[in-house]
Amino acid sequence: MTVTTSLNTHAQRGAPSGRIGRVLGGFGTLLVVPAIILVLWAVVAASLQSLVFPGPVESARGLLADLERPEFLAGVGTSVRLLVVAWLGAAVMGGLLGFVLGQSPFWSQVFQTPLFAFYSIPKVTLYPVFLLLIGLGEPSRIAFAFFHGVFPMALLVMGATAGLDRRLVRLADALQLSRTQRVRMVILPALLPTVLMALRISFGLTFLGLVLAEMFSANVGLGRELVNNVAQVRVDRIAGQIVLIALIALGPVLTMLAIERRIRARMGIR
């Protein structure tokens, strides 16, 4: 692994065209799995009745038809807006909480158990409590999505902060860094790969929480659309909407993953 990463960096240094090729190559590898899924999907759909199980083409048509409906677009807009608000909240609050708790290995050990518990419980069954306490509107959905994303963020940042390389701390001591220098030049760069990973995981779980909340109680949004279509047995639209949800999730996630990989490769960690 170390050998391949250093080889990559050398190639990067040597030839800029090689770098583009590598990116395209990576992108190509990335497309293999969706291509296989698409082919399997088409084959299965063709061998079954297409009314019960739509193929990719019907689904694409369903999605295009949806995208012409203004109320659908408004629903997607609402979902994306709530997702961004909840995710930013989870990232900032979770990150700060993890960073503060991580200052003390002792307290981070104490909080490890409850944070992990909140991360791993089936939070969906708590959604009615949110509705009872906050009401049926958007704030409940934001809070519930936030509730999904904040714990993994806090847990990962806390672990990384508490486990910071002792050598770096001693180096900072020896160089008499000021508090801000210490955070800006040593601690944050050392935590960066973990923070990026935590942002990515937190994003996915926040989105999951939002879709669940929308399926259960919302009047607009992607989750609502899915459930409506189940009632109307519009299977082609459901499939199209799932593709749309996957695309919305993949954009930011793949971008974050690419940045994270770059930074990790530069630092020589997997």
């Binding site: 019960v52 307290w107 009872l132 399926m215």
Partner: protein
């Protein structure tokens, strides 16, 4: 410079403080509705949840329509996820080309709300145990695949060379060498998988189903039967706690969330 002395703050060890934290949360849940910090109509004191739950657990109807379907769905999902996940993990590890193609998707898998597939599955298969187990398995399996791969990567090269030299069959190689060697990681992955299976099953039941604990809670909410609802929520939390405790005693509890 490791000292055998357990570190303490204000006389309490890490475990002690964890217990204090738990007791404090329970006390808050008990007192908040009684003192009036929250509306007692919206949140029931935890002691009343427990009393209601005890009553529920004594009715056979609750067992038959809520607990039994959920537990069997979780057990099936978990079983499928571990068996298929380990097998998939080994296959990917043995075929590097396949791994190269699949691995990025394993990394981003939990970032896509796969749960969105559930309405599609229901629309195609109808409500029932099948779609719920399928969703539960899908939620859990990737954790097992990922940890199996990590475990196999950590196996010393000499062990693999030994396996090569013995000329074992594919099946023997997997069961006699690879799985035992990667066991600690597989256990960690299974711990997550059980949590995920529980999440997947309860979420499916909660959103669209006619049976199960998740359905029980959502129906109780819609019927304004909040005492029942909170009893169900408490049971879910107890189940999740039991799952964590089970594996905490089994494994040494290393590696929480990764990837």
């Amino acid at each position: 410079m490791t000292t055998a002395v357990v570190e303490r703050r204000a006389g309490l060890s890490v475990r002690g403080w964890t217990v204090v934290l738990g007791v404090a949360v329970a006390a808050l849940l008990e007192l908040a509705p009684r003192v009036g910090i929250v509306d007692p109509f919206s949140v029931v004191p935890i002691s009343e949840m427990a009393i209601e739950l005890t009553a529920l657990l004594q009715t056979s109807e609750f067992w038959a329509s809520a607990l039994a379907p959920s537990l069997s769905a979780v057990a099936l999902s978990f079983g499928f996820a571990v068996v298929l996940g380990v097998a998939t993990g080994i296959a990917l590890w043995e075929i590097p080309a396949a791994r190269r193609v699949v691995e990025p998707w394993l990394t981003v898998y939990y970032a896509i709300p796969t749960f969105a597939l559930y309405p599609l599955v229901v629309a195609v298969m109808g409500v029932g145990l099948g779609p719920i187990v399928l969703l539960g398995t899908m939620f859990a399996i990737v954790a097992v695949i990922t940890s199996t791969l990590a475990g196999l990567d950590a196996v010393p090269a000499t062990v693999i060379r030994l396996a090569d030299s013995l000329q074992l069959s594919t099946y023997q190689r997997a069961t006699k060498v690879l799985v035992p060697a990667a066991r600690p990681y597989i256990i960690t992955g299974s711990r997550l998988a059980l949590s995920y299976a529980l999440i997947g099953v309860l979420a499916s039941e909660f959103v669209l189903s006619t049976t199960g604990l998740g359905h029980f809670i959502s129906r109780a909410y819609n019927d304004f039967a909040f005492a029942d609802m909170y009893a169900g929520v408490l049971l879910v939390l107890l189940l999740a706690g039991a799952v964590n405790a089970l594996f905490a005693t089994l494994g040494s509890g290393e590696a929480g969330v990764t990837r």
